[in-house]
Amino acid sequence: MISVKNLVKSYNNVPVVKDVSFEVNKGELVGLLGPNGAGKTTIMRILTCFLNPTSGEVNINGMNIFDSPIEIKKLIGYLPEHTPQYGDMTTIEYLNFISEVRGIDKNKIKSSIDEMIKLTSLEDVVSKKISELSKGYQKRVGLASVMIHDPEILILDEPTTGLDPNQVITFRKMLRRLSEKKTVILSTHVLSEIEATCERVIIIKKGTIVANDTLQNLVNNFTDEFIEFSLKADNFTEIDKEISKLKGAWKLEFMKKDAKDIFRYKALISKDSDFDKNLKDLIKEKNWKLIDEKRNKANLEEIFLKLAGEEE
């Protein structure tokens, strides 16, 4: 089990992770979701003992990251962002090096490597230099290298960037299969990644956790709605100016022109917002015509936007 308590990390006195606490239970597959620069990588680097926190406590299987870094590193397979590798080595040499450092029994190294090569379909590039491989293959070499010692915990930083859509699907299948036996933490700034793989999501914004729940609960508990409406009016410049001044929506955007004089908008509002009333008043005042209006419960994408996106 991974337990993080009041974690703070500052670089030159600028905090990038601010008082973060969470737990990940054995066998869980948790996604760290947040825009770039939210602090996901920093948190992962602390969990993997690459960085020390400025303050706070991290325990993995009851071991403290300060007291037993080596023991903790043995439990973890960590794939850093951008998958750094020794480009001069061939795939097989690299996997050999990792196996040796991971202390895999000499007699089992070959079979472990073969198994990983099969799992990540690396058969064609076994004796090629890593620097000559495509991004997708490099990622797969990275994945093979972090799983070779059959770690209890996998920590994957942006594991699918650089993979093509087919590889992403294969990767997700693999991940779901693995997560039956392993604890997995993966980070991403792509929501669909989480939707496709994770049971629980921790949304991070500017170094703090803004949500930590299962996807189902997030959707259920989130009462915001979005309104899609179209207006008939003569002058787009005027309408756009007036609409953008309306109060009560935390996100408002022009979607498209339905016809020459019909304009479609989308607004995200919280449940008790008076946006609807404001809109109706404005329409009356300006003598426009409301063509249609649809209200919908916000979906995951909008939840993410609200929680982690930049305010506008």
């Binding site: 003992c49 951008h82 590798q85 080595m89 040796e100 202390g103």
Partner: protein
């Protein structure tokens, strides 16, 4: 060092040796190391003028050769790992910092050792041309050359840990090694220093090159052993400290 540590160090060592020979660095180093000093040796070293079967002139040039060649070999040790992001990989594997450091150090020392061994034909040829060689002196010279190399490697490793830039790492190492090497020569040649015994003493003691003089004469003095080993350990220690501090930065 327990068994696990030994195998960890060995794994890093193998990886580093592979890297030296996969890139041109290893070959270029060995070939130039042989080629350049030999030219200098035969044309300017005056082995035939001295008419004496000795490698002393050859070894006298060694500190200067190290100033350029060793930083060339070591500039990437940490800088390249940082630049490529592989440092994160290395430091999140279950390895101690010192296992990584020793593995890297021994691999670099091996390259220097191979280059030094490759110079052996010179004494052998001169042996046939000019008569018998003092084997004892030769062994002492090679031991000294390796110990001195350790020290140069330790210093340039440390400097490599300070920067991401390969060129900065190289230039800084060369400059600092040059300084530590030449203060020894200065102590002997500049009138100002030669007149002040105590300054001369200090400069001689801290210089990287002067401690090699005894070795090249065939004398193994404990002071010189202590100096080279001590300096190496000091810079290894500083190196580890720099690497550790990165975790806090």
């Amino acid at each position: 060092m327990d068994k696990r540590s030994f195998f960890n160090t060995l794994a890093v060592y193998k990886k580093e040796i592979q890297n030296y020979f996969y890139s041109p660095i290893g070959y270029v180093f060995i070939v130039l190391f042989l080629f350049i000093p030999n030219i200098l040796f035969f044309f300017f070293g005056g082995i035939f003028k001295e008419n004496n079967a000795t490698m002393r002139m050859y070894f006298a040039m060694l500190p200067i050769i190290y100033i350029i060649f060793i930083p060339g070999l070591t500039m990437g040790t940490w800088s390249k790992e940082k630049n490529d992001g592989t440092l994160e990989l290395l430091f999140t594997l279950p390895l101690n910092r010192y296992e990584i450091l020793i593995g890297k150090f021994l691999s670099t020392l091996t390259i220097v050792f191979i280059a030094l061994i490759a110079t052996l034909p010179i004494p052998l040829i001169t042996h046939f041309l000019l008569g018998s060689f003092d084997i004892g002196q030769l062994i002492s010279q090679y031991i000294g050359a390796l110990l001195m190399a350790s020290c140069y490697i330790a210093i340039s490793f440390f400097i490599s840990s300070l920067t991401k830039e390969l060129i900065v790492s190289f230039l800084l190492s060369t400059s600092i090694l040059a300084l530590f090497t030449f203060i020894g020569y200065l102590a002997y040649s500049v009138k100002f220093f030669t007149q002040l015994e105590w300054i001369k003493g200090i400069l001689t003691e801290i210089s990287l090159s002067t401690h090699f003089l005894n070795f090249s004469k065939g004398v193994i003095d404990s002071i010189d052993l202590v100096y080279y080993i001590g300096m190496s350990i000091l810079f290894f220690y500083l190196n580890i400290r720099v690497l550790e501090s990165k975790r806090w930065s």
